[in-house]
Each structure stands twice: as C-alpha cells, then as structure tokens.
Symmetry: C2
C-alpha cells in the first residue's frame, strides 16, 4: 500500500472485526517497523508486550482495562493486543530532559501504519489501570505504559464501508488551525 494511503486509511475502527488469527510473520513485520523509528540519541526506549489468543486477551482486558477500553468490542474481541512501555529512569538524560513519550509515539505510528498496510484494524488507546496491567503482564516497577492497541483482521464484507464512514465522520482541524509559517499565528 502507498504510504499516503496507509496514513489516510489508518482509522480507529470499533467494529467489523473477524476472529482470524494474525500470523506471526505479520506481527514480526509490524514490530520491526516500530523499531525502525527515530529516537532521541537512538535510545530506542520502546518495549512491546504482545498478547495473543482469546483467553489471554480476555484475561488482560478484564483485569486491567478501564473507561473507554473496558466495554469496547474492538478490545474484547481483538486477536492481539500490543502494549508499548518505556522505562523512565533509563531514559532520563543527565539534565533531567526526557523524550521517551514522544519516541514511543514515533515508533507506535510506524506500528499502526504497518498494521494498516498489512490489512489489519487498530485502535490506539491508553485507558488502562497501569498497576493492574503491570501485575497481569509481570511488568517491572520502573516501566510505564505509554500506549496500546488491539489488532484484528477486519470483516472483509464491511471493512471498506467502515473505513469510509470513519473518514467521513472524522473531525480534523484544518491546516490553518494547526500550521503557521515563519512565526506563530501566521497561518501557513
């Protein structure tokens, strides 16, 4: 798929999933794409936990998900969940600055686009109980969940329609609202 098409087509879908298992090879490609992102001083602070299989997904969703994620079909019926963590202490520079939340964002967009390119549905979110999630996944104390997504194959019968509907209803700021030229406030 063309890069621009993947960027446009990546939409957080809430329905139209099917329970087809995602192949290991595709998960590898997706994780490799994530790992190719740039990061401050090339620290590659991202660590991913892949949860696969109905029982595993249900266990994590039941124990750790809150708010929006809790009752969400796209989460409960996902074939795979991928959680992105980073370690605060290991990624703070001597002057106190840190960039790992942004670095993980850079990597995670690669992950979402690679998944879209491979025909999968994603839905990035962060609504979890961090302590419960870390307990259920055995994650060490110093790690922080930054973002996660379910992944599923879409129902081929309704996917294109669902993407089109999401694109039509997606409210996006215009360029003049988000971009300035040469100085703040001067619309691009």
């Amino acid at each position: 798929m063309e890069t621009m098409e993947a960027i446009r087509k990546r939409k957080a879908l809430k329905n139209c999933l099917c329970d087809r298992e995602i192949e290991r090879e595709k998960l590898e490609q997706i994780l490799q794409a994530a790992g190719m992102a740039p990061s401050a001083r090339n620290k590659q602070p991202w660590r991913f936990v892949v949860v696969q299989g109905k029982e595993n997904v249900e266990r994590v969703a039941e124990k750790a998900f809150v708010g929006f994620a809790k009752g969400n079909l796209v989460v409960k019926e996902a074939n795979v969940l991928i959680f992105a963590f980073a370690n605060h202490e290991e990624n703070v520079f001597p002057d106190g600055a840190f960039f790992y939340p942004t670095d993980v964002g850079l990597a995670f967009e690669n992950l979402l686009l690679a998944a879209t390119d491979l025909g999968l549905v994603t839905h990035p979110m962060a609504a979890v109980d961090q302590a419960e999630l870390k307990k259920v996944l055995g994650v060490p104390e110093g790690e922080r969940l930054i973002i996660f997504t379910p992944l599923s194959y879409p129902d081929p019968g309704s996917y294109d329609e669902a993407v089109e509907e999401r694109q039509a209803t997606s409210t996006r700021k215009s360029l003049s609202e988000i971009a300035y030229i040469n100085e703040w406030g001067k619309p691009f």
Copy 2:
C-alpha cells in the same frame, strides 16, 4: 512509495542536501499527513511552525539551536524547518493525565514518512533553547516544543548511497530485545 519502504528509507541524514526549494504543495501534503494521526480523545494537540527560506532558517538556527543542532549542516543548510509544539494546559485531562508528547510523536512520524515518500531528507531532533526559540518565533508562553526537523531535497547524485550507508551503520535492537509475548521478559 510503499509504506514499508518509507519506514525503512526514513533515515536521519547529515549530508547530501541540495538547495532546491520545497514546493508549498509538498509541505501541505506533509502537514496534512501529520494532522491525520490519532490522538487521545482526538484532541489533535499538535501545532506546527514552518520556517522557510535561507535567511529565516539561519536566523532561527543562530538564535535558538544548541548542542547537536547548532553546528549541524543538515540544519544550517535546510530549506525548511518544521517545529512541533503542544500546549500543556490545554491538553491535561481533569485527572492530571496527559498524552500530548506521545500524540505529537504519532503525528510527527506521519510527517517524516510523508516527507520521505515525497523524496525529502529529514533529521528529527530536539536540541534547542526553548526560551530563545519561542522568542524568535513569537510562540506563546504555554506552548512547548516537542520535536523538530529540517527538510531538504537530497543531492540526487549521493542520496541512495547515503541512505544505504545509514541503513548499514544504523544500530537497532533486535526483536528479542524489544518485544515480549504474553508476559514481560518472554521473548517474542
């Protein structure tokens, strides 16, 4: 360009620039790609300042750049600089949580991939004096610089070679170092 190729080809190049002006249409496509990223509760917290033209680029670089960015050819000779800001107060949720550094990372990877897809060279970095940068660009107090990049056309004679060299010398963690399956510490 295929999505996976853009992800692989996006490399922070330090040389092989040429001084060809980047067309406005391409900058629009790049910024639109950025604006299509997902964000927590669709807040779209990103704001971009595009600096174009030799004099403007030099003025900003001279006043605000520090450390790595200061003496860097890819910055000093860039045709365009794009700075990504977000506002802390406007993007903190009532419970104190905030996701804008990650959201800007998601958007910025789209920006970098779109630029790569359009044949441009980028080099994401963050080494600026925030106060000086905000002064020279007229950015309000509450905004924070999250990340920025120079953009240039590459010298067509040396681009492919430079990308290959960067790919060959790029040190990336292996999948087993960054990905676990079902629980922390169990290599994917």
